[in-house]
Symmetry: C2
Subunit: 220 residues, 2 copies
DNA sequence: ATCCGAATGGGTGCTGCCACCCATAAGTCC
DNA sequence: GGACTTATGGGTGGCAGCACCCATTCGGAT
């Protein structure tokens, strides 16, 4: 009897039972992959990592209590963090960038085919970045090219001040209110807002709100 | 050899491959249930119903092109509509009421346990309403009580048209875009928006966005 | 027959948002 | 020392959002 090679140990975090079923079904069918634990939210996933050792964490981007992105930030700060693969419902560039920013090795959609999910796992384990196929925009391609050439880019898009203003905008405050809150001029807030919209490629406050919620910066 | 009883024929509509995997895995394991077709969005589901005959349609509430709720409205208008079971990611009253309003027999969360999903299917086929367990708020309980006493529904605050406008506003579309989308006047959209703000007690589009996300009407 | 709600559309005016233009002080990087 | 970024602030103009006002049509309920 030949000894089987060690399998890639996977922690699966998603709040939807049905999704966990589907993913587990696909991964456990592979000879080199094994789902060794499941978590129903981000906090649970982080807690589980303190008890068991895994090679790869598959995180749903949007989960209650602690979103996948928030969890990923925490996991990335561990001493020997496992690889991370973000699972998302949204074919969305902003999300994708957020995921890479927090240290994920890949980003796959819940609408992916089986083989792509398996491929993403193996790619992530090898330490390479995986892009969900079929939806790779020029923006994403550029980003990955730079990444592969070793260029540093993880510069946070927004400055600290812009982050503050972003949050206040997303919380529904008017420009005037924000100015009062930060004790700066109305015009300065407008300037920050302009920069935020330009940098994130958004059009107005409504989109800022959705962005901030997606990114886990504020609660809905 | 005893003849097997006819299985309940199910159409499964969800845009996420992984969810379809999970649901099919669970249902096909039951002796009396059989997933005979799948669809990746609402339009596909409606189209499929023209070709094949099913007893039950399981619809994801949020799908591209045509949402599950929209599809359900269309299906309900068929000559002999199949039973409908809405599948949602959100433990959310607004969604639940919407589902019942369009004629669904049940509403289950994607986080349900296997048995509950199976139970929901069988309950729907018997023509009874199914409420996802564990998340039945007082509001829902009241509603079902009234329903069982034969009283008419307390009607959701917003009209169908207002719901449409609400979603489009929350998705970041401008008044002009919405007018074009719905092929109505700019002023009419403004009127709907005014009514929405008044009815929900909101002040502007930003708050509408957060409300819609909180209510689970749109994805962040 | 009447009344009401829902959907449609118009007018007017205020205010806020957003896109351009401009500048300066302080800090960092090379 | 210059180049660059960040944070600060001003001006101007256009258009959108929002709050009021108004009306018509249609269908269902009383």
């Amino acid at each position: 009897m030949t000894p089987t090679p060690p399998k890639i140990r996977i922690l699966l975090a998603d709040d939807h039972t049905l999704v966990r079923r589907g993913v587990r079904l696909i991964l456990d069918a592979e000879p080199d992959l094994e789902v060794v634990a499941e978590a129903a939210d981000g906090a649970e996933a982080v807690a589980a990592l303190r008890d068991i050792e895994v090679d790869l964490v598959i995180l749903d981007v949007a989960m209650p209590r602690m979103t996948g992105l928030q969890a990923a930030r925490g996991i990335a700060r561990m001493r020997t963090p496992p690889k991370m693969l973000m699972l998302s419902m949204h074919d969305n560039e902003q999300y994708f960038f957020e995921a890479l920013k927090v240290g994920a090795s890949g980003y796959v959609l819940k609408s992916v085919a089986d083989e792509d999910l398996v491929k993403a796992c193996r790619t992530a384990i090898r330490g390479q970045a995986f892009v969900y196929p079929g939806a790779m925009s020029a923006l994403v391609r550029d980003y990955l090219d730079r990444l592969n050439r070793g260029e540093s880019l993880p510069r946070t898009v927004l400055t600290e001040r812009e982050d503050e203003v972003l949050k206040l905008i997303a919380e529904g405050h008017s420009t005037r209110e924000i100015a009062r809150e930060l004790t700066i001029s109305y015009k300065t807030v407008e300037r920050h807002r302009e920069n935020i919209l330009a940098k994130l490629g958004l059009r107005d406050r409504t989109q800022v709100t959705r962005y901030a919620i997606r990114a886990g910066l504020i609660e809905p």
